[in-house]
């Protein structure tokens, strides 16, 4: 049995299979890149959205929240928070943190300016408009 | 595939090949008629199953190996064609 199962053939299958499926992956990626503009509405990415994403990143929001389901599971999903709560609520909420309620999960105070809060909302609004194949299942995220 | 000394008029593999070609033409013909329905679907899928078994056993040479190997392919085939059949019957009221 071992004569007809050779290491050389196993190795060839490894290299061949890896290259083959990576090429397939590149092909699918290429198609995805062609299709994405229709789904992510990149024409709506304003300077404000760009700045908002930067604020999102430099406050490490992903360390507690999920965004489109990715991140930490300590705090609510924010991919659809704009549709759930609306812009003014989001601004007021961020500005009012932390709640200080004893024993409850706390969100830090980031001392964002009004402009920065607007950028944050713009980013979350744009995110809520991405075509995510109807995810999340309901408004609670 | 076959030993050279046996006095064949046509080689067994050639016979298999001719049958496979004929079955393909029959499937195409059914497609051209535009028929549909459970019986047609089962005929076409059944033809495919027979063809796959012919390729596996005669072309791939599995009929001269242990049942384990034939069994894997046959089991795969039954599972796949069975699930396809179930999916199709689901749509027939």
């Amino acid at each position: 049995m071992s004569e007809t199962f050779t290491k050389a053939m196993a190795r060839n299958i490894f290299y061949g299979g890896a290259v083959f499926f990576f090429l397939l992956f590149l092909g699918l990626t290429f198609d995805t890149m062609q299709t994405l503009p229709k789904r992510d509405h990149r024409e709506n990415i304003t300077d404000s959205v760009v700045r908002g994403k930067h604020i999102w990143e430099t406050r490490d929001c992903i360390g507690c929240h999920t965004l489109l389901g990715e991140g930490a599971y300590f705090a609510p999903e924010l991919g659809n928070v704009y549709t759930r709560r609306g812009g003014p609520f989001i601004k007021a909420w961020i500005a009012a943190q932390p709640t200080g309620a004893p024993g409850r999960r706390q969100m830090p105070q980031f001392n964002l300016t009004d402009q920065e809060l607007d950028d944050m909302v713009a980013f979350l609004k744009w995110t809520s408009e991405v075509n995510t194949n109807k995810w999340p299942p309901n408004i609670e995220g | 595939m076959d030993t050279p000394h046996e006095p064949h008029f046509i080689r067994p593999c050639t016979r298999i090949w001719l049958v496979l070609m004929a079955l393909t033409c029959s499937t195409f013909a059914i497609g051209e008629t535009g028929w549909s329905g459970t019986a047609v679907m089962l005929t076409v899928l059944g033809t495919a199953v027979i063809k796959v078994e012919m390729v596996a056993n005669y072309f791939m040479g599995l009929r001269r190996t242990r049942w384990l190997w034939r069994g894997i392919v046959l089991g795969w085939l039954i599972l796949v064609s069975g699930l396809i059949t179930i999916a199709y019957l689901m749509t027939v009221k």
């Binding site: 049995m1 004569e3 007809t4 199962f5 050779t6 053939m9 196993a10 299958i13 061949g16 083959f20 090429l23 397939l24 092909g27 198609d31 062609q34 299709t35 | 595939m1 076959d2 030993t3 050279p4 593999c13 050639t14 298999i16 090949w17 496979l20 070609m21 393909t24 033409c25 499937t27 195409f28 059914i30 497609g31 549909s36 047609v40 076409v44 899928l45 033809t47 495919a48 063809k51 390729v55 596996a56 005669y58 072309f59 791939m60 040479g61 001269r64 190996t65 242990r66 190997w69 894997i72 392919v73 795969w76 599972l79 796949v80 064609s81 699930l83 396809i84 999916a87 199709y88 749509t91």
Partner: protein, 195 residues
């Protein structure tokens, strides 16, 4: 290497070719199998769309391609038979013919793809076309991979690297090529014919 010559009545412990390729073949069968079943169930949820879209496929070219692949597969059977009798050059010629038919398959398939792509059809058009394009493109790439394998074996056969006692390489390539054929035998009726 002693027991490599397969005679007609013996039962062998392992299938023809290197056992390693069979792991690959089974993995491929599994991947395609899941895709076939997924197609069937996706269709069950969307029968009208699938039946309607199927009308626009070129059934004739699908059927011709089936004949092409079966014949090509048959040529590989002849190639294996030739090398078992020690005819290296004959074996290489059979493999070359099998590869030639592979090119015919690719040409017909590309014409079909061209027709669909120029009609603006893509993976995102609808579920049917997603499956049609995924399955056929995935299979298309397997045909290319199979041809690469066959080409390598053909060159080795031409150099006289195989003999009646040592022809596992030819059988390995042939087994993979038969699998490519086998998958198309299911794919064609499933996607082009059954409704």
């Amino acid at each position: 290497m002693i027991n490599n010559t397969r005679t007609s009545h013996e039962i062998h412990a392992t299938p023809p070719g290197d056992l390693a390729i069979w792991f690959f073949i089974f993995a491929e069968l599994l991947a395609f199998g899941v895709f076939f079943v997924a197609y069937a169930f996706a269709r069950a949820h969307n029968v009208e769309l699938f039946n309607e879209s199927q009308q626009h496929l070129n059934r004739l070219s699908g059927a011709i391609n089936t004949l092409v692949l079966i014949t090509s597969s048959y040529f590989m059977v002849r190639a294996v038979a030739a090398i078992k009798q020690g005819y290296s050059i004959l074996c290489a010629r059979w493999i070359a013919s099998a590869i030639g038919l592979g090119f015919v398959f690719l040409a017909i398939k590309m014409a079909e793809f061209h027709e669909k792509f120029s009609a603006g059809i893509s993976l995102s058009t609808n579920t049917f076309y997603m499956f049609y394009l995924s399955l056929t493109l995935f299979h298309f790439m397997h045909v290319i991979l199979g041809m690469v394998i066959l080409a390598a074996i053909m060159l080795k056969a031409r150099n006289g690297s195989y003999s009646p006692a040592n022809h596992t390489g030819v059988e390995t390539g042939a087994s993979y090529w038969h699998m490519v054929d086998l998958l198309w035998i299911i794919l064609f009726p499933l996607v082009y014919v059954i409704r």
